[in-house]
Symmetry: C2
Subunit: 185 residues, 2 copies
């Protein structure tokens, strides 16, 4: 039976990422699961305006998106609990840089995207930063035949509804393929 | 070992949804996995400008976001293959409406959100429609103690990298909790 939940956001689970930025000249990381894909080459991160990291992204026009595996769940959760105002969260990670010198990347995360800020979409209490991906770094161990294999990445998915972290399950069907049999012509 | 992949979007897997809209006065559905969360109450769908559905969303200022379960994978994939220009995709589903009379909802999907278009973010080849969720409909069978249980929803996750559909795995940790032990004070 259908029932009404009110205006409840159920667009979950979403991928949990560690967003990196330089704030006051130092690398800082924050956990964000309110992410999105805009077009093929650009992605969004929705960040409450109260966060410490927002000013650094605005100042430098750069940020990184690092995708942690399930074995980093404690560090990932911690970066969503502690604020860079008072905690040095970068101490948890081995950091490296690509071409953007204010987009710190986390070595322990199997996937890292360097992003150039191209738009900021304003919401009453949130900045949605849209970044163009300029380079992606990858652990070679998560590739299968040269393609990123999410079974090896083991990303952390997040649902607000139960405030839970979820694992990825199995790949079970091929896109632009499995539905072909429903074509009428 | 880290290697560079170029500017490769790896923000996957993402939730696969069926977006509903009225186009030329008739309900139509399109499969989108380039979705996002902007702030708590609003979500985005990134849709190539060439799609048939975009004009309907712009005309009516409404759309729906329906979350299919894995047992709807054929119908879901088909709605990403066939165009509403030539195919009647609504024939596949039992449709109902909430308060927005131009946001068709799919009964077979366990979660349905009615959205009012509040922003359109323009990209060279994509419209990113941002919708404020105004009502959410839910099958009571996917609730556990009154909360949406994604183990029951069985959403379809999508990765562009391998063009694959993936299942959700297990809930394995509690957010704003599992990382507390890393606090230094």
């Amino acid at each position: 039976m259908k029932m009404k939940l009110g205006a409840k956001n159920c667009l979950y689970p979403m991928l949990t990422v560690l967003v990196g930025a330089h704030v006051n000249g130092k690398p800082n990381f924050i956990t964000i699961a309110h992410v999105g894909i805009m077009d093929l080459g650009s992605i969004s991160i929705g960040m409450a305006k109260a966060h410490y990291t927002n000013a650094g992204i605005k100042e430098n026009g750069t940020f990184s998106v690092n995708i942690p595996s399930v074995d980093l769940v404690k560090e990932t959760d911690y970066c969503g609990i502690a604020s860079g105002k008072s905690a040095d969260k970068a101490r948890l990670f081995e950091i490296f840089y690509g071409g953007l010198k204010t987009a710190p990347l986390i070595k322990q995360c199997p996937l890292n995207m360097e992003c150039k800020l191209i738009k900021t979409v304003d919401f009453p209490k949130h900045d949605v930063f849209v970044g163009e991906i300029v380079e992606t770094h990858c652990d070679d161990r998560v590739l299968t035949d040269g393609v990123v294999d999410f079974a090896k990445v083991q990303p952390i998915l997040f649902a607000m509804n139960d405030r839970g972290y979820w694992k990825l399950g199995d790949r079970f069907a091929k896109a632009w393929s499995v539905g072909s049999e429903l074509k009428t012509q």
